[in-house]
Symmetry: C2
Subunit: 338 residues, 2 copies
Amino acid sequence: MATLADVARQAGVSPATASRVINGSSKPVAEELRERVLRAVADLRYVPNAHAQLLARPQRSVVGVVVHDVSDPYFAEVTRGLQRVAIERGRLLIICNSYRDPVRELEYVELLRGQQVAAIVLAGSGYHDAAFTTLLNEKLAAYEATGGRVAVIGRHDHFGDAVMPANDAGGELIGRELLRLGHREIGVVAGPRILTTITDRLTGLRRALAGEGVELPEERIRYADFDRDGGARATADLLETTPGLTALVALNDSMAVGALALLRSRGVRVPRDVSVLGFDDMPIAGDVTPALTTVRLPLVELGVRAMTLALDPASGRPRVETLPAELVRRDSTGPAPD
Amino acid sequence: MATLADVARQAGVSPATASRVINGSSKPVAEELRERVLRAVADLRYVPNAHAQLLARPQRSVVGVVVHDVSDPYFAEVTRGLQRVAIERGRLLIICNSYRDPVRELEYVELLRGQQVAAIVLAGSGYHDAAFTTLLNEKLAAYEATGGRVAVIGRHDHFGDAVMPANDAGGELIGRELLRLGHREIGVVAGPRILTTITDRLTGLRRALAGEGVELPEERIRYADFDRDGGARATADLLETTPGLTALVALNDSMAVGALALLRSRGVRVPRDVSVLGFDDMPIAGDVTPALTTVRLPLVELGVRAMTLALDPASGRPRVETLPAELVRRDSTGPAPD
DNA sequence: GCACGCTGGGCAAGCGCTTTCCTGGGAGCG
DNA sequence: CGCTCCCAGGAAAGCGCTTGCCCAGCGTGC
């Protein structure tokens, strides 16, 4: 690999001059030398060693992002928003998948810190795990203490800048819609109970239902993987153990799609026999059959706002932005059967 | 940010000893010193500067991946495969989105080279653009000349290790299925014509049709964005200008979903009036309505194989693996109406 | 014509780390 | 008791780059 020294030698100048030409220093360089350097760069296919540059000029420019899983549509959209802002500002993104493993998340924060990233964005639900949360917050604090910027999406356990999707308001919207349609026998297809997102959404839902005296006991909730197959599994289980349900609330759209598929395979008609609701309004939600009634979260915007917070200079106090949820009525819900 | 020197000072040892303790050098260190160092590390929240490490010990460990767009389900799946192998081998992934912009792709290759990545994986169709291709290949060659590893997915214009999805065989499968069902009036909802993937799939399709004397003139092909909305737009256009089509082939599933949505909105019944086929078998393909008949590509496996090639030591000659396509019959296709 | 100021270019320090090589001291042996 | 050998620990070089500082040479003003 060609180095700056090689370029300088080939061009017959000092490394200092070569460096100045290559990254357009303010110090003027004679036209002739400039050309010689540029030619040498091209001839040698010289690319500056980014690590050496970073060492010499501690100008942090890359940004780290830790998401649960980019290939999950929820995070795919959020990441799209993160990327958009990062690109606009000329930042490279290092994207890390924690696969919902707190330990891996911790490791990634450490790794990103080692990479001297300018900012770290943590996207995705927090965990109900006090030990982990303390550890994480401590690591983040150490990072911020040395000038790093941190923004999180959807974690209340963080003290700094955060963007919060209105998870519990969304749950409430679902609850109210369900009541409006006359449903009282409701089952929930939930993701891992360790995720705070899950409990937030449940809390909102329960609050709305409680307003009309409808209970949502734990027996009507099934916790499973937060994806399509988890949704199908939880639905199957619910169907077997709890007959008479008229509505199923899935705590994200992927699970709802799984629920839909399972119901179809069992000959249960949606929404005639059972209404199904999702959460997130992922891009495909309107294209499944029946089109999914769900709560829209501004996913891309979540990413945009988070990256903006992370890249804007730190303000004195933590900034917390809450992005609203909105009910999207489609074809998977209808009045409760008699 | 605490440095190794800080740790050493705090522990009352030399930086050399601190370094040896921290990254478990083979050289033995007395238990007492070891503990002092470890305590200092914890106290100072020391994290080694990865760039300095990389400079000092040129052990390349991170891998760069350039995809068109991670949030596209196709690439989400491929990336999942890439990640899986990378994690197994303890490699960090830098994921870059080119958003199908050749210029950005070039920039990313340069950037990754500057990051001293151990390998670069280019995922996603090549472009019909000789100038770009030459430039790209030249850059990749320069990178490989300095010991970098390169693997590509779905590009024949690369001379090195490659994993190829059977795009044209897949097109052929679709053509044969269409003929079997008696379709002769066929429209194509295609992605950008600059992508080699598009022409490959078309070539296969045409070859199969030609076997039975069915033509596929350019007027029956609409090129649009390679996503849902592009699919809807192309379909709308095709419907208006070319009445009498009995089948629509979308060149990926996202476009097919858009086509399905548009047909539904126009009251065209699928598959009764028009059959629709997709390509890729993305995860959601079976969940839309009607469930999509499509060609399955082993997306995750594509990623797994590519990363494996990239991480395995270079062999003398280029290794090219072709992964097969397979027709998946679902509910969006039926016999041609009379 | 001389002193001074300015300008373009090079020298060298230093970013944070690893690792080779060296040193001092203790153990083992004669 | 003295010598050698071995071992743990430290000094220092060097990875590739940037940049503050210095210097030489030129032009200018008095």
